[in-house]
Amino acid sequence: MAEPISGTDSEARELDDVQFRFREDEMVDHPAVTVDAFVGQTNASAVRIEPGDDARDLLPHLGRIALVEVNFPSFGDGRGYSAARILREAGYQGELRAVGDVLIDQLSHMRRCGFDSFAPGVRLDEEDAARAFATWPEVYQAAVDGRAPIWTLRHGERNGDTNG
């Protein structure tokens, strides 16, 4: 598991309370708009998905999006995991940020679903988070993080492109 590029970078945090970021490009410097607002206007490049939004509404516009924030108002509401994967499966390459009730024990799954930046509502313990990102030595399923699942490793072949 790669180290987050902006782990303890305090300058980056000030931009949007992003605590962990696994990308090297510039961060978008304007606030994300709602899905409704986004679909209705042409200049925004950052959009925020709430649990009840349909991530597929964004698919026609992926080319002009640089940042999707997926909000987790409560960590127990797992709809954001599907939203993230759907975007990545459709080829979205921009930043995918988990915001809100983002806790230590959800980080590894979020990473697997394609999130590459994290802005937890409450700052997380760095050491605990580092351990959490590294939880799984291997993985059972193909997801959108490009990791080869165990069943592929067992048979020494890749079964299709896991990164859509």
């Binding site: 709809r79 024990d105 799954h109 048979h155």
Partner: protein, 544 residues
């Protein structure tokens, strides 16, 4: 039996380490109880009335003797010397200390066991026909498919925070012995005209407060698309299942609200998308898993037939053995329902003995059944008498399988914080009554199931006779249901009328059986008679 390779072992070890860390953070106050709860639940740890309960997974109910011995060891070392086998083929320990839980999980991992996803809003341990690999009527052993799904569903990144728990059962015969139609997803492996195997997906069954029988959503999923299709089923549920009300959050409610056809169409659209994503394991993986479930070295050319001159033995043979697909063998069920006992409980000594017997008599294999009994799947008929004698000496030869004494009961008010009424003492009374009056054997097949509250852990909706504990003005009260079934002919029981107190419900059950005995025509089971004559005669006898 499946054996872990280094990958499987690594994953379980990683989980043990992760959970140890979570417990540490909880004890350090870094995690609130609200934050910790779903994490401990995903490791099988429930908080009950008096202590923590740990539910250990028995994937598709199959255990070898080493694993069974470990279950006995844990009962002795960390509990009060017994364990409780559950209706989802798992085992629970009722008196666990939070601090011990990581050590227990570490011990389990040494015998390729765990408590992963035995609770929580995730895909639960996958159950299967307890006669898998042995039953004469199966088209294939369902367990390779269950094992493939076990791996796929373990630590699934997208489906660990579902709206509600998610239970999957896999069978591969016409006769359903796993209550498949009462699961969130039931999979039936079957053969087409060309002799190929495929999977039928039934979705949206469940018990709880709104019991529902599942819908056939797709008749034929090719075996090399099993995971892709399951993934589509789950994604539609994760996205659209209700999260505003936990009593309406199971997938059965989603299907009920949008309709099975609409659900099937959405799954199909998702499936088409996912086909391009490479989520399916290579077919070689399924073949690899299958080799673990190859036949044990059966002795060939044995003939069928058992000397039944000992009447007590004969009764047990007739009641507790099941037709095997290989001549000269049989599947023997060890009833964990001794007269007046606690359904599903076994002492550490009994667990160790059953482990030894599995090794000596059944190619090192035993099974947990959803009726809370233990099966030795492959016993040579010519050694059956010897087995029975060993069981009899240990008080494990009760010949009451599927009879009124073979009661399923949830923990109820003796352990459970959600309970309205006790279930265990009631089960004990009923079993005692029908043993004392000698009617257990006369009545024949009659499946009696008791839940201590509306959550239906004791499957009361699916009992030929069901008993539901309710709270009536602060007193324990029991409603009676008739006509449920979980077999191939799945149906949901109907309430007879006003409830009874504890002694009253035992009398009411006896009256119900009297109506049956008076009305039954040749060979009819209780359920058949009920279906033929309907509720009225029973109501008449109960309230008339």
């Amino acid at each position: 039996m499946y054996q872990y390779d280094r990958y499987d072992q690594q994953m379980v070890d990683a989980r043990v380490a992760e959970f140890r860390d979570q417990v540490r953070r909880r004890l350090d106050g870094k995690l609130t109880e609200d934050q910790f709860k779903p994490l401990r639940l995903m490791n099988g740890l429930y908080l009950q009335l008096h202590a923590y309960m740990l539910r250990v997974a028995v994937p598709y109910g199959t255990l070898n003797s080493t694993q069974m011995h470990m279950l006995g060891t844990i009962a002795d070392k960390y509990d009060r010397g017994y364990g409780h086998f559950t209706t989802r083929q798992n085992i629970q320990y009722n008196w666990i200390k939070l601090e011990d839980a990581p050590d227990i999980l570490a011990e389990l991992s040494t015998v390729e066991m765990h408590a992963i996803q035995t609770s929580g809003n995730c895909i639960r341990n996958i159950s299967a026909d307890h006669f898998a690999g042995a039953a004469a009527d199966e088209v294939a052993d369902p367990r390779p498919y269950a094992e493939l799904m076990r791996q796929w569903s373990s630590f699934h990144p997208e489906f660990s925070y579902l709206p509600r728990k998610f239970k999957i059962a896999v069978i591969a015969s016409e006769t359903d012995r796993a209550a498949m139609r009462l699961h969130d997803i039931g999979i039936r492996i079957h053969k087409n005209d060309a002799g190929e195997l495929g999977a039928a997906f039934y979705v949206g069954g469940g018990m709880g407060r709104t019991p529902m029988i599942s819908h056939l959503v797709r008749e034929w999923v090719p075996l090399d698309r099993l995971i892709t299709y399951a993934e589509a089923c789950l994604r539609v549920y994760n996205r659209y299942g209700r999260r505003d009300n936990k009593y309406k959050a199971r997938i059965k409610i989603l299907l009920h609200e949008i309709g099975a056809e609409d659900y099937a169409a959405q799954v199909d659209a998702e499936y088409q998308q996912l086909l391009d994503q490479g989520v399916e394991p290579p077919f070689a993986e399924l073949q690899r898993i299958r080799t673990f479930f190859a036949d044990p070295p059966f002795v060939e050319g044995l003939s069928d037939g058992v000397d039944q001159s000992d009447p007590a033995f004969a009764a047990w043979v007739q009641q507790n053995t099941h037709l095997h697909r290989v001549h000269g063998y049989t599947s023997a069920t060890i009833s964990l329902k001794p007269v007046g006992g606690i359904p599903g409980d076994a002492t550490a000594a009994q667990i160790h003995l059953m482990a030894d017997l599995a090794k000596e008599f059944s190619f090192d294999e035993c099974r947990v059944t959803h009726a809370q009994n233990i099966v030795l799947p492959h016993v040579e008929q010519r050694r059956l008498y010897e087995l029975w004698q060993r069981l009899d000496t240990a008080g494990l030869a009760t010949a009451n399988l599927d009879n009124i004494g073979d009661i399923i009961a949830c923990p109820g008010l003796d352990y459970c914080s959600l309970a309205n009424a006790r279930a265990i003492p009631l089960a004990q009374k009923i079993s005692q009554r029908f043993s004392d009056n000698g009617k257990d054997a006369v009545i024949g097949e009659l499946k009696l199931k008791i839940s201590g509250c509306i959550n239906a852990c004791g499957h009361h909706h699916a009992g030929h006779i069901g008993v539901l504990g309710v709270d009536r003005k602060g007193r324990e009260n029991y409603q009676l249901l008739l006509g449920g079934s979980e077999g191939a002919d799945t149906s949901l029981g109907k309430i007879t009328g006003p409830g009874f107190d504890e002694d009253g419900v035992v009398d009411a059950i006896e009256k119900t059986t009297e109506v049956y005995l008076a009305q039954r025509q040749d060979g009819e089971r209780f359920l058949d008679t009920y279906r033929r004559i309907g509720m009225e005669p029973f109501k008449e006898a109960l309230y008339g």
